[in-house]
Amino acid sequence: MSHTVGKKTPLVDGAQKVTGRAVYIDDIVLPGKVMLIGKILRSPFAHAKIKKIDYSQAKKLKGVFAVATAKDSENRFGVLPITKDETAFAIDKVTFIGDQIAAVAATDEETAIRALDLIKVEYEELPPILKPEKSLAPISHPDQKIQPWSKYEGNIFKTVNQSFGDVEKALKESAVVKNGKFSFNGVTHAFTEPMGVIANYGSDKKLTMWSSTQVPHYLHRALSEVMEMPMHRIKVIRPYVGGGFGGKSDPFPHEMAAAILSKKTGKPVKILFDRDEVFISNHGRHPTKTEMQMSATKDGEFTSLEIDALIDGGAWGSFGVITTYYNGVLSLGPYKIKNFNYNGNRVYTNKPASGAMRGHGAVNSRFAVETLIDEIAEDIGFDPCDLRIQNAYEPNSITANGFRITSCGIKECIEKVKIASNWDKKFKKMPYGKGIGIGCGFYISGSALPINWERMPQSTVHVKIDFDGGVTVHSLAAEIGQGSDTVLAQCVGEVLKCDMSRIRIYSKNTDTAPIDLGSYSSRVTFMAGLAAKRAAEEIKKQILNAASKIMSSPVENLELRNDQIIELKTKSSISFNEAVREALHDSGALHGKGHYQAPNLNPGLPRVNELRGKESEKGAPMGGSHKGAAAGLSPSYSMGAYVCQLEVDPETGLVNVEKVWAAHDCGKALNPLAVEGQIEGCIHMGLGQALMESFDYNRNTGRIENPNFLDYRCIPPTMMPDVDVFMVESADPEGPFGAKEAGEGPILPILPAVANAIYDAVGVRLRNLPMTPEKIISAIAKKK
């Protein structure tokens, strides 16, 4: 065995999961402790002042240990340090149905539920602001301001205006201009494991928190602020996590509630969400209205793109600043578009907060771009695949807004799926009802600018080898089912050329793990992978030095291979363990550390004072110097192209997706098994948003109408199409062993591919997601 990367590798924690031995929050029982159950009282109103909370009766109920409210902590938190607008409990007013009012800790769940019924809250109802258009308007009374601290007019959370090139000039030179109004209902992550948390505030005044989270580090920080405790007295443990998809990438109020209740009672407190609470917590994809215009010459050269996006953020900020930028700038690849205008507004409304979700900020705009490209192709008589290839970037390009595209396999992706799907024989040539369509995608491989503007590595990995010969890897990259533990093990194994069974991953505990920002923005393989590789390289040097002593041969002549150190000239060898023992004999410890920090940002970039122009990585500073230049800036970009074939029943509007050919440029597939899984998972999730998933709100009250998996419909396994996956390996110059992301970008192409295939099948363009049966048959009826 000479390579661990590039091999189909079953997840290192897979056996634990499939045999039921993996320990999730729900399984955790603290030995010798009475564990209390926490339940949360939530607001039944979308917008109301809290006049009075009386929990005296609840406190008297037998089995109730404590009741917590905003009085116990008013400190604000939020995942972005610039928009901290969340609190553990609503202070003075509630801003959406489900806002946390109070929490109860009791001996068991039934008692806690009964106690919630005994808490009396007096509200003064305010008219809820539910339509994002309404949030753009100036307010006439302070009560109308959903989040009082926001500096923008009305209930605007963030406005972004960006302009590159000269759109007006470009339009004059264009032969075809296509535009459209698109709308996207909100969708949510629908991860398997509902959120859960255990807080244990001990007599030593230290807090331990177990939480189903993607971001132990941000949770650690937020707890420190909310609980007013130094971080070194807080330990965050991430047990096995049953999926996240962005829905567990914020610190959450229920985590704060558990900490507060545990501190009040001196006992461990567990809070497990019911499924409707998961829907209420949401932080899913933003409902968005997008107006888009795209132009091209008659020769098929894209000339301009204009986007106007109105993004419904719900009641909190979450990742919203980033979302607002991403809706624009992530449309600037994988095609050469020189002239670009973007106007984006993310607004507050009295709904559960929107946040980050797989393909964060890029999915909705991508759908619109890829739809308009097909319309342009039809107008100027181009094949949609060929038109995309013609406009695609080459490696080592700079986009209009200063993104640095290094590796770039988009053309190969398109060619692969075009040939595999037998496109030329099918497009526009199949009988009515049957269709084929293409869509592409473009996504970041981690954000170059960290959320906290500090000079701190974005990922650090420690590797330790002891006398047993075991290789212990410490990281805080959160394994949430995506395979991050496995990829770190592979990166270390590839350097040390040792057997995978030697490698043990410890990634659950902030006490022992070095800093890592967590599992979001498709950053783990790239950033933590590089850190792991570097840590392993450091330790490799020490092993080779020790081997050199034993074998009396210079290090240059030695090579690690198959759990051995080989002398290249004499072909003699010693075992991995022999070399390790020698190294330990001299030092007592074999440690390696590696870290990652994104390449320099442009020195002219305003506001990012601590980070700009400082030395961190090789290479020239990246990005432009305009406001917001760092948003969407990534050390590398993934891209992909999918072709989808489907059948539409023109009478019922039901769509049967038959087959998807999916090509994704992931640089290098470190674990092809995991990459394939991510692509198939992305297709599943994307088909859901395309065809049936929808967060429905009551128009008058703002209540989520379908907070369950019957009425909020995900694609069932029986409706998953056949998927042929093509991993395009463009060998990224900076990624670990050439790798870049494969977890989020692969969702982007599927939605427009479906829409374009529906057009090919029945001749209707749908611009509102989800494309439900009734929308399809009414579009067909209108056309007739």
Binding site: P44, E651, T652, R703, N706, P716, M719
Partner: protein
């Protein structure tokens, strides 16, 4: 989501089950067979009773004897039964499309014909019902679908019942006052809360299929967004007899998931008896039935769509059954 506390009883015979029901009736009880529907409602704290009488151990009702189906026979067993496959294809079609395979392995035919009516405003969590307000069928005093306080319009969601009504099947019931047999078509009421004429103590023990069903062409079509899990959004059951001259001798079309009970269309279809089956006749029948249908706005798809689908399903089903 946890189940509320209740006492579980496990009788071994119908007689014993009824006896238990009489002992606990002052506190309230539900019979439960597969429980795939009832227990979910219990989790949502919908009309929870302190006693659950499980029918699982009762052997006398769990087999199929020719055209008599024990009420405790699972939907999966019906789907696989050779006699029914050959003689009552419509029931097999209906039962094999209920919920998901996991549901069909557990859910019983007795439970399916008694399944609680469903409504967007009813099948929700307690927290959901505290915001905006609950409905007549749960704990409040007003309907949220049609603003009135008199009756409930929750949707009848059984897949098997419309098919049984279409062939005039009978239900055998046993209760504190003994046994009785009732026509499936007379069993259901217009009220989404009361739903049917079963006495509280009664258990459906048997579904009796008329012998003449074997001479009919039967079939079932339904619309749901997903081909598994979902309850029907609209469904059509048909039973036909076409003679040698291709003339309609007998026709019954029953709609499910449209109103509060399985809706017969005898008035509409009777006028076509004696007509020669043709595409234009099928179209006419379907259009008439569609026109008459009145879905309530209480499921996740718009009324206009569901109404349109009545006609589409009807036409497709009649074409399929008559090879037109």
């Amino acid at each position: 989501m946890i189940l509320p506390p209740f006492e579980l009883h496990n009788p071994n015979s119908v007689k014993e089950a009824i006896e238990i029901s009489q002992k606990v009736k002052h506190e309230g009880f539900d019979y439960v067979s597969g429980g795939t529907d009832l227990l979910q409602n219990y989790k949502n704290r919908l009309n929870v009773k302190p006693h659950l009488i499980s029918l699982t151990n009762i052997k006398e009702t769990n087999s199929i004897n020719d055209f008599n189906i024990g009420a405790m026979v699972t939907l999966d067993e019906i789907s696989k039964n050779k006699i029914l496959q050959n003689n009552f294809a419509g029931l097999v079609e209906a039962c094999s499309q209920v919920g998901s395979i996991l549901v069909r392995k557990t859910a019983t035919i007795g439970g399916n014909v008694l399944i609680d009516n469903r409504c967007y405003f009813y099948n929700q969590t307690p927290f959901w019902r505290t915001s905006l307000g609950s409905c007549l069928k749960a704990e409040a005093d007003a309907c949220r679908v049609i603003p009135q306080k008199e009756y409930c319009v929750a949707t009848f969601s059984s897949d098997s019942a419309p098919m049984l009504v279409a062939v005039d099947a009978k239900y055998e019931l046993e209760g504190k006052d003994g046994k009785r047999i009732i026509k499936s078509g007379d069993f259901y009421t217009h009220d989404g809360i009361k739903r049917n004429f079963k006495d509280e103590s009664e258990i459906i023990t048997k579904i009796k299929i008329p012998k003449r069903t074997a001479d009919l062409k039967t079939g079932y079509e339904k619309i749901r967004v997903r081909d598994t899990f979902d309850y029907p959004l609209v469904s059509v059951a048909a039973a036909l007899k076409i003679n040698k001259d291709k003339k309609i001798e007998d026709i019954n079309i029953v709609l499910g998931a449209i109103g509060t009970y399985p809706i017969k269309n005898t008035d509409t279809t009777n006028s076509f008896i004696g007509e020669k089956i043709s595409n234009s006749i099928i179209k006419e029948i379907s259009e008439k039935i569609q026109k008459k249908s009145q879905p309530y706005n209480n499921l996740t798809m718009p009324v206009s769509y569901r109404k349109k689908m009545v006609g589409v399903l009807c036409r497709r089903l009649l074409k399929r059954l008559t090879n037109s």
